[in-house]
Amino acid sequence: MTSEILILMKFELMVIIILFIILFLKIGQHKMSTATLLNLVNILLGINFAVGLFGNISGEAFGDMFKSTPLIHLEKNILNLAVLIISLQSREWLSTHKHVPEFYVILLASLSGMFYMISAQNMFMFYLGLELSTIPLAALVNFDLLKRRSGEAAMKFIISSAFSSGILLFGISLLYGALGTLNFEDISVSMTGEPLLILSFVMILAGFAFKMSAVPFHLWTADVYEGAPVAVTAYLSVVSKGAIIFVFFSVLYGAFQNIFISWYNFLFLISVLTMITGNLFAIRQTNLKRFLAFSSIAQVGFILIGISGNSTEGAAASVFFIVIYLFSNLGAFGVISLVSAKTGKENISDYKGFYKTNPLLAWVLALSLFSLAGIPPTAGFFGKFFLLMSGGGQNNTVLIVIAALNMVVSLYYYLKVVKAMFMDSNDNPIQKLDTGFQAGLAFIICVVGVLATGLFGGCYEYIFSIIHL
């Protein structure tokens, strides 16, 4: 029995073990060079990912608070992979940083919070996991300790997430007051369209929308993304967002299935607003991190369309899209992170003539952006297609037309970056950059992921086969 619980919580335990190894190294005043430490951490994270692939068992623990299914294993391991890639990519930035062990301790603490959140079968557990993942994130955002913008971003982040947690908690308490239970399954049985329950649902939805930066709760995103170090921005935009979306659709499909008609209309509205706002703001951006912040807002709009399909296809398309989004966004952030660490340049205009000096990196960034824009043969095409197709299952042509036209708008700003890299000339281009082995490995993973996840149907089929609603 005991050992079974240990295996059930394998992902959480692995992360916590690594966390403690790093913490002991720090406390033990070990004379380890930063480079060795980084290598060690990357190896540990690699092992962590590899272990996550095998020997998972499904089941429940702690009185139905904690659940583990093949889908949850996959989701957790997707996040593991993302953290591994981010860690490989941020080597350049971290190698000159004074507080490497602290960075990883905080990062892994946040990751373990996300794991608990994904496994949650109970609003209470969900809230605990969410807070465990959010509070360390504020510290991470402020990790460029000497940068004023970083501090400002952290302040904005902590205030807005505390605010959204408050709203979420209010919604949960209303729900508990009305139904007398916090368990997802019990909620789904007794959920009705009563005004009080709808109000509590709206509060919970608002909390979710805050965390995944859907309009109208997106205002913190751009400032925080811009102020945070690139590695943290990548973590926020991929891992944090991915985790909350995993939870979001399982809560909607599970606990709130009875009031589908209500939440479909909310989702319709939010996704349209999110896509349009994200796209229109992204067009005007000159800073690449802000640009990716708004583009990631727009991507959330597309994911919400998929989720609004309320079907196995919708869930599968969302998870599939997160996998693709991971590779594409991390490919883009990897290049930006490298350039930012070596030259400090982060503006789109700085990338003029980038292709002449760094052809390979330019192709990586271009491929990632094509994937985000949904251009075949990159995986983004498949992801977007399936999202909209599952959304189309509700026969809402208006929504699909708006989404399809938004894809055209988004192509414009992605191509603007491609144009700067490939077509514009620059007297003072970014010099030739040396990638290094580990960042190079991360790029290879991203590029292979961007090309292979879509073209080979196996990935989607696997996700589809393990989803049981």
Partner: protein
Amino acid sequence: MNLNLLILIPAATALGIVFATGLKQVRFVAFAGAFIQLVMSFVLLFLFQQERSSGNTEQFVFQAVYNWFPSININYHIGVDGISIAMILLTAFVVLAGVLVSWQQEKLNKEFFLLLTILSAGAYGYFIALDLFTLFFFLEIAVIPKFLLIGIWGSGKKEYAAMKLALMLMGGSALVFVGLIGVYFSGSSSLDLITNAQSLINEETQRIFFPFLFVGFGIFTALFPFHTWVPDGHSSAPTAASMFLAGISMKLGGYGCLRVAVYLMPEAADYYQPVIITLSTIAIIYGAFATLMQTDLKYINAYSSVSHCGFVLLGIGMLNETAINGAVLQMVSHGLMTALFFAAIGMVYDRTRTRMVKDIGGLLKVMPFIATVFILAGLCSLGLPGLSGFVAEMTVFVGSWQNPTTMYRFATILACASIVVTAVYILRAAGKTMLGPIVNTEHLTLTDARWNERLAAFVLLAAILIMGIAPFVVTDIIYPGTEVMIQKIVLNK
């Protein structure tokens, strides 16, 4: 025959180009790939004819289905009929000529040939696709290489033109995408062309989604008023890309309009017939008159492409057998002719460094070969008997005259009259630039076509002549395949 070869050869060529070093190796690999592809296309034609003569009356032959996303019923399904074969041959001719014309491409030659090869792979895949997802996949593959080709190697306001083209074509695919969703949820839960063609989509759904499909594909083939990317895109693109854009890329749209929009939704096509005919007639007339005003050779050919592609849509819109066959012929003919014309303009531009009609004159004396090619392409464009343009346009007119409605008769007369305008601008441009006195004495020192350019011109000219003198060679390929499709369209309209 395994049709995947048609995609694998360009893919292998692209891989070869990646590993080749230096212009000589790169262009050799690209040429070899394009040549093998042309040979393959002829082998395909031969095997196809053999299959047909041995009594195989299946609508699509050499079919193959591979599971791609079985859980949502999306498969990789390929197969060909006569129309696809004609299009594949057209693509093979134009790509080979395009590679030959770009023989001296110095700037970033590896990327140039790579993108050209990817473009061709997209076109081949598109023409053999029988699953709409596969078709859409290949349709969109072709957008970005065009953007890069124009933006990096183009001339004039290239970045504007590249962005405009990419966004408008993406807009077209977005509309197509909405149409595909409509087809998928129309009851079949499948995107397979054959499955959807067998089960009739109900008329209300057809009326909602037909405009999306038709306009979406129409944007690719310069449907008025969405033709504005054509002049800018074609004239800013480097020669080979112009050839590809006008020769093949615009045909993707016409093929899609016929194969997807009209074939799957004939009732809606009938319902919207007046709109289609009106728009295509406007395109024909407007394109012809707009060409009259142009002073840049590439703009002349680009606007005339708008006019000529109007014939394709006119033929499809008439919804009868002769007119649709004429539309297919016009696609092939216009593809060859316009590629040849752009090649000739490119050769002139490479030497004189200008494309303005007023700056060029009397080139026939200096470069007789190029001038002859230029004039022949022009004559084909204005529909001179003996060249392919005549055969195609004639068939379209005969077909559209069969439609007895007064309005369509009127449209046919207008379209016929546009030929006169075509003659005016073609003869004026050819006369001024090729005949007449030499305007710029510096042009006297220019050289005639090199071997690669001659070969490119010969390849295209041969196809144009064969199609013009012995049209049955082409019609024999196309007609048996279209019968099944056209019968369905005509019966259900």
